[in-house]
Structure formats: structure tokens, C-alpha cells
Symmetry: C2
Subunit: 511 residues, 2 copies
């Protein structure tokens, strides 16, 4: 019916992962057909379809009565030229929301349910509200471990998978939450220098002050095409690039875009998210780092052990060799928090600078050592020594330089921001705790990760003796407003407590 047609118009509004359609209030479609109370419509053109949330516009300069506006994401998904004629229909709710409602009612879902849900999500049939409902309904302990396995497999199937045609493809992953924990930028060069394939793609920060991709971007290009990535990995046995261009487990990214602003963080979803991404990347051997500490994501050892069991259960059924290392998460790792400052720490370790942060070096060697022991030719317990030898001999540094050249070297400037504020101890004693959340928040307010030179540089760490007036850490920023926000946050809560030796919570991890 030709009188149903509206002309498509691209509306240059970035609505993140949610498709939005803009219809004029005077549009005959809207006026005549009871679209008013609807929140979702189905737009069809040339066999291509897109579902979108409907916003009503009263301004003809944005959209005319005969037009249908689509936000950037929706426009790209529909993939037709501006001015094309489209038909608009009442959108049926995604069928798989029935399964979500059954889950809300306490039922158990099966593999088909999870396949349909992930399929509807990846096809953008879910609104953010619906994704939030799914996340809460399947959050916390609402999924048993079989359901978790089904979900992981469904997420894995939602996108592309890679195959490296090698028997041993290693990877590592940290569950996150510890600022400065940039071990990947040391582990990958060490493991690749050993000759093991470690095609690690990295993420950018979402709510943290830096992701590996943000920090690596200080040294080299990280936005590579899937083909470039593939070539570099083949040639260098590893890479340190952004993984966002590959379409691996895309449902994961879409769920994360809702999960993070909601601040809900379920162990089950974390396991499904990590394992689906790693399996899609073709990994056969995986080391998971679970930091434990009072301000880490995992606060108690029993939680860490329960999480390890979950990883092992799902990993075994999906046929990936998986090991878990529980590590010390009581404070940030290294000194710098923010891309430039973290890159500086890493270069110090790679250059065997005696002043390099000891904890970052040690943790990276421990992790690299465990991965090297995946190699059937390496005797159990020898991995650490091999990793240390690779680092101390300069081979890790050489591999990093090769990776930087392969990805596209940048002119490296490791000077932090020009605005600097010292946060001082207000009493004498011993540093008894450093709040990971607060340090991350201050670094983020200072501008990290977007402003590479912004962040926080820790001068004192857990157990350091301090005098009143000593510098605890420095805030670096490039822009006055950021600088003000970060200083205000530090003034409200410095993130440090100073007391006596026995007040330090002992780590349960031998380190």
C-alpha cells in the first residue's frame, strides 16, 4: 500500500545501542493509526528491517510529517539511502521476551530459550529496558550452572568465530576492577617471545580509567582491521590491538552497554561474557586472573573459589583448557592510573629499569609463567623462570617494539598532564588501605582514558610509612574543569587510610 510510505531521513543523533525513530506529530501515520501509545515500531525497506523506539517530534526542521527519521545506529542498520521509501508497522514484541518473563517467574530456561534471546538481542529487537529486564532476571544466582553453560554457548553462537588452526592458542583475562592492572602489555610480549600464539585483542575502558587498548594507543595504533590483526598475529605470534572491529560474541557488547550504567555485575554473566568472547577468538588455553581484596570486584576468598568453579564448569563443557589464578587485589597495581602513566610503568618494566614498579613486574611474570606452562614442552614450575629470562634478556622489550612497529608506531610522549595536584598525608603512620574504586574515580574525573595524559600517579602504596604532609599521589589533568572535578573528589575522599601496620588486611595470596 503506497500510502503507507514515509521517506527515510538520517538524524545525526547518536543514541548508543538503542535504535530510535523520529516521527512528526502531524504525520498521517502517527495521527491515524493509534501508534501513539506504542513504544516500538518496525521499519521495512527493500527487505531490510529495523526495530526502533518511537520518539515524537514537533519540529519540522528535524523531521517532516511525510518523513521518518532514524538515529545513526538505526539508519546504518537499515542500510538504505536517505529519501528511500519505507513502510512502518506496529512492532511485535520480541517473542523471546516470553522466556524472560518465564525466568522472572522463577522457571529454568533451556538452550533454545537462550538461543532465541541472544538472537533477538543481536538483531536489535530488544530495547534497553528489555535488556535490563533480562539482565536482572538472569543476574546473581538466578542462573544455575547448566543455564550458564547454555547462555555462554548462545552468546558464542551469536557472532563470528576465529580458527587459528593451531593446537595451542593462549589467552589471558582479568575480571577487572583493579586500576593500573595492565599486565597484558607485559604478558603478551613475553609469551609471544616464547613462541606461543597469543592473539589477545583488548578492550577500551568502559567505566575504568584505562583499558589495555587505551594504554597501548599511547605507543601504537590499535584500531586495526580484522585482516591487519590476523597478519600481525601470524607474523608476531601476538598483538595488543583493540578487539572491537571483530564481530565476536556481539551480544556481550550489547549487554555490557546496559549492565555497566546499571552497576549490576553478576558472576554468571561475567563468566558467560568472558568465555564466549575468548572461545569466539579461537582460544584453546585460557588463564583467568581473579583479584581479591576489600575494594576489588571479588571481596572474599570463598567468592573467588565459587567463581573459579563456575569458570571451570563452563570452560570444561566448552572444551577450553582453563586455569584460574587468584591474585592480590587489595590496591592498584603499579604506580600509574591512566593511559600515559600506565604506559610509562610498562616501559620501565620492559627496559628492566631498577625503578620499575615491582608489583606490576612480579604479577606479570607470574601470569606469563603460568601461560608458558601451557606449552607441553615446559616442565611444571619452570614457567616463571622462563618468563623472567625472556624479560631480563631484553627479548620481551624487543617483541614489544616489534608489535608497536607492526601495529603502527606513534611518536611516544610519556609526560603526564600539565596540571598537577599533590594529595598529601594528613597524618603520620603506615598506608593501611587504598580504595580501588575511589582511585579509579579520581583518575577518570581527571580525564582518563580519553585524555591520555590524565590520571593519578601513586607515590605511596600499601604498607609505606608516611610523615604528615608527604605526597600520597599526584593528580594529572590537561583541562581545568577535569582538574577541578578530580581535586574535589580527592578532597571528599582521598581513597587512602593511614594507621598502624597491624591494620593492613593481610593478603591471602602468596605473592
Amino acid at each position: 500500500m503506497s500510502n503507507d510510505n514515509l521517506q527515510i531521513r538520517r538524524i545525526a543523533i547518536d543514541t548508543y545501542h538503542e535504535n530510535v525513530a523520529y516521527m512528526h506529530r502531524e504525520c498521517s501515520m502517527y495521527r491515524a493509526e493509534g501508534f501513539q501509545a506504542l513504544s516500538k515500531i518496525l521499519v521495512t525497506a527493500n527487505g531490510s528491517k529495523v526495530l526502533a523506539v518511537l520518539n515524537i517530534v514537533d519540529d519540522s526542521s528535524i523531521v517532516l510529517a511525510g518523513e521518518l527519521g532514524l538515529s545513526e545506529q538505526a539508519f546504518q542498520q537499515l542500510n538504505v539511502a536517505e529519501g528511500s521509501l519505507v513502510t512502518v508497522n506496529h512492532a511485535e514484541n520480541p517473542k523471546s521476551m516470553d522466556a524472560v518473563r518465564r525466568k522472572i517467574n522463577g522457571e529454568r530456561l533451556d538452550q533454545d530459550d537462550f538461543n532465541e534471546i541472544t538472537n533477538d538481542i543481536v538483531e536489535a529487537r530488544y530495547s534497553k529496558m528489555e535488556m535490563a529486564a533480562f539482565l536482572v532476571a538472569t543476574g546473581q544466582n538466578n542462573l544455575d550452572r547448566d543455564e550458564l553453560f547454555f547462555l555462554t554457548r548462545a552468546m558464542l553462537r551469536s557472532g563470528d568465530t576465529m580458527n587459528w588452526h593451531e593446537a595451542l592458542v593462549a589467552d589471558k583475562h582479568c575480571i577487572g576492577g583493579i586500576p593500573g592492572n595492565r599486565t597484558s602489555m607485559l604478558v603478551v610480549p613475553i609469551v609471544a617471545a616464547h613462541g606461543m600464539l597469543i592473539p589477545k585483542t583488548s578492550s577500551r575502558a568502559i567505566t575504568s580509567p584505562a583499558g589495555t587498548a587505551d594504554t597501548m594507543e599511547v605507543l601504537s595504533e590499535v584500531n586495526l582491521s580484522p585482516e591487519q590483526l590476523h597478519d600481525i598475529i601470524r607474523q608476531e605470534r601476538g598483538c595488543l590491538a583493540w578487539g572491537g572491529t571483530a564481530k565476536l560474541a556481539p551480544v556481550d557488547d550489547m549487554l555490557i552497554s546496559v549492565e555497566r550504567p546499571l552497576g549490576i555485575d553478576s558472576q554468571g554473566q561475567m563468566v558467560a561474557s568472558i568465555l564466549s568472547k575468548k572461545l569466539a577468538a579461537g582460544s584453546t588455553h585460557l588463564l583467568i586472573d581473579i583479584p581479591v581484596g576489600p575494594t576489588a570486584k571479588v571481596r572474599h576468598m570463598n567468592q573467588a573459589l565459587a567463581l573459579r568453579k563456575l569458570f571451570e564448569f563452563v570452560g570444561d563443557r566448552l572444551n577450553i583448557h582453563l586455569e584460574v589464578m587468584i591474585t592480590d587485589g587489595r590496591q592498584p597495581v603499579g604506580r600509574g592510573i591512566g593511559p600515559i602513566l600506565e604506559a610509562r610503568d610498562i616501559m620501565q618494566v620492559l627496559q628492566n629499569d631498577p625503578d620499575a614498579p615491582f608489583d606490576l613486574r612480579q604479577k606479570s611474570l607470574q601470569l606469563a609463567g603460568r601461560i608458558i606452562e601451557f606449552d607441553p614442552d615446559v616442565r611444571g614450575g619452570q614457567g616463571y623462570a622462563i618468563a623472567r629470562d625472556i624479560l631480563e634478556s631484553g627479548r620481551a622489550g624487543a617483541k614489544m617494539n616489534a608489535l608497536i612497529r607492526a601495529q603502527g608506531a606513534k611518536v611516544i610522549d610519556l609526560h603526564p598532564g600539565s596540571l598537577c595536584h599533590d594529595v598529601l598525608a594528613d597524618s603520620a603512620g603506615i598506608v593501611t588501605s587504598i580504595d580501588n574504586f575511589q582511585m579509579a574515580k579520581i583518575a577518570r574525573l581527571a580525564g582518563a582514558p580519553k585524555i591520555k595524559k590524565a590520571g593519578v600517579d601513586l607515590v605511596k602504596k600499601l604498607g609505606s610509612p608516611v610523615e604528615k604532609g608527604d605526597v600520597l599521589y599526584r593528580i594529572y589533568a590537561e583541562f581545568p574543569t577535569d582538574f577541578k572535578f578530580a581535586q574535589e573528589a580527592a578532597m571528599q575522599n582521598s581513597g587512602y587510610t593511614i594507621g598502624s601496620e597491624e591494620q593492613i588486611i593481610k593478603s591471602l595470596i602468596a605473592f
Copy 2:
């Protein structure tokens, strides 16, 4: 800091209950200060504040780099002139989301938690995602009855309350889901004619083909100011107007705007929603209608009884006299579904037309009778006879005319839409079921409630004998596209089954 300021611009986009702010990608604020990954900002001007979801714009005709656009809702909430200078800050997540996360973790919430949550919601600090998380976390059986009481009280406190300064203020409410169930338009005139105060405000349809306000709008104005409402109720002892102008339990409306599109419907939230609204309206005596049937909201008698207990528990603690009537919800009530068709049925009953739908008349008399028995001067069991006498004597019709005049009479046209399609029986037998959902869907697709003349007119009802080719019901529409949508839906599923007498599910309700 004056360089933080952006000029406010009103963006004529209706984003329903979610505040949206539009910032240009080249805006110095957005470029410099790491707002990118943020989804929410706090906008401040002259001491007035508004929280909004951030959308990024690449088109300077929508918003300039030095401007901040606000959607209609957000602009109205901020309440400053266009061009005013505003400051923009990182929005803190609403504090009460901590309580929601605790609830997701299985904890029990207390009165303070619910007060803080409803307060944050009413102040528009929750995004739709966050409201969805709250609804799922507190949905189904996740609230015990004490928590439900806390939630109801918190919702009641979130808005204004009315006080009629009378000992007996009656109201009725149906939990919904049965098309054509417009008993309020008969109960209110009967009860008000008896002299009892029944200040019933009505809702518009959200997902159904008509609400009482939509149907009443065929006969009179329904958009009245709170002052007009008050005067009419004082003078006529009742009203049949839209309740949206009074700010009663506003949290309820905001939650419903998320709940309905999600299709989640929890008994607990229904109880809190209904009781908070009725208490805010100043009711002292309330009759709740719970229809039970295979395609009603409540499908089994045991569910209806459990729901009754919940209503009674919370009602008693909030000091409202509450009675529940469990009614026959196996099929639509009356013949018409849609504003004009339902208004026609109601006028037939009021005019004591022998052809008036018997079930609508009987149900309305039963409900009105129970309410009349709230009157201490009426002997138990006499209510029905009094109600019938008021109806048959013409006093109910006269009261309806008085209400119509008081609210503002319209030129009444009860002719249904000009496009008409008969849906025919495809076999002979007895009508054994009529699907409430499907009939509502067809009427809605035909254009109801927005198109007053659109809807469905039932010719045969449960138990009617039919011959092959007999008309089961008629679809009325005014616009060809609506007509097509509704016909297609009826073709896929007529909503009727035809079989033999013994296949009819017997109602458990004496009627």
C-alpha cells in the same frame, strides 16, 4: 566557572517519561571532559536541576556546539527560558539503586529503602533501564507482604493526597484485562444517585482498546482541572473524568510506563499501584473487581484468592475498608469493544433498553449493590435491589446526564466506523471460548481507543449457537491501514472457538 556554561535549547522531541539531553559532538564540554562513556548528566540552572540521558548530535541545526538541547519533558522539568545558561556535571547514579541492587541480591528492603527509591523515581533520577531493573527485582513473588505494604505507602507519599472530609468516600477498581468491561460508567451514576460520594477518576487505555476516560470522552469532556473535578464531585457526588491532571501517586504512572511495554505484570506491583492511587484520592471504602478466566489476567481461582489476601493485608494496614469481588472473566463484557461501541452499550443499559447487554447490566448492578452496602443505613443483601431500582426508575440515567452536563456535554454520535468487516463462523456449533487478548488486540489494531468509532462489536457470545457463515463479530475502522491490520489479525486468529456445549469452561462464579 563561566566557561562551563552551555545555552539551553528546547528540542521539540517527545521522549515520553525519559529525560534526554542533546549535546553536539564538537561541544567543548563533551570533547574535553570524558563525558563520552557517560550515559547520564546533571543539568543545573538557577537552582533548578534535571537529570538526563545524553545523546550525541552531529547536526548543528539540531543543537550547536555551545548549546545543550533538552527534550520536551526535561525542558519543562528544568523550567527556565530557552537561551538560559546551564552548567553540566557528571551525574551520580541515584543512591537508591544500591537498594535495588541489594534486592537483586535477594535482600529484604525496609520502609526507608522504598521511600528513597520512590523519591528518586519521582524526581526523574531513574532511567527507564533502572526502572526496569527495579520492576523485575521487585516483581512476582520477590516482595513479601510487608515489603509490599512499605512500597504502597512509599508510592502514596510520593504525591499529593485528597481529603473529602466525609466519613464514607467510595471507589471501585477492576484489575483490568477484560475488554468492554466499562462498569464504572454505570456504577458511578447509580452510587452517586444513591447519594454516596464516589469521586472516581478514570484512566485512559495504555495497552487496552479503551479506558473509562476514553469511552466517557464520547459523551462529555474528560480533561478537567483538579478544581473543576472537585466542584463537580461536590455537586454531583461523583464524576467520570480523566485522573491524569491530579498528581496522585505519580510514581505509579512512571512505573506503568515501563511495565506495560515490558509486559511484566506482578501481583505485588498491581496491589501497590491500585491502593496507592485510591488512598491518594481520599477513598475510605473500596471495591476491587478481580475477573477470573482462561484469558483474563487472573486465570485460576486460587490465584484470585491469593491476590485478594494481598489486597486485604495491605488495605487493612493502610486503614481503608476494602472488599473484593471475584467475577466471571471468561469473555469480554457487553458487546462493544472500543469507545463508541462501549458508550452505545452503556446508554442502552441506562435507558433500560430491553436489548441492552445483559451481562454488562448484571455485573454493574452487582458491583453497585456491594458499594451501596458500604452505607451503614443499608441492610446487608439489599444493595442489589436498591441499585436495580435506581437504574430502572431512570435515576441512574438522569445522574449520568447531570454528569455529562457538568463535565461539558458533547454532540453525541454513536455510529461506529464507516469501514466494516464481518467475521464469520467457519463451522456450526456452540461458541465455546472468546479470547480476551485477541479481541482486545483486534479492536486496538482497528484504531481504538484513539479512533473513537473503531473497535469490535460482538454478535455472538459464550454459549451462543451458531451456523456456519453466521456473523461472530464485526470490525469497525475509519482508516484503511488500520482496517487492514485488524482484518489480518482476525484472519490469523479470530479469537473464537466453536464446539459443543460441554467444552465451555464453567465459570466458578455464581453470577
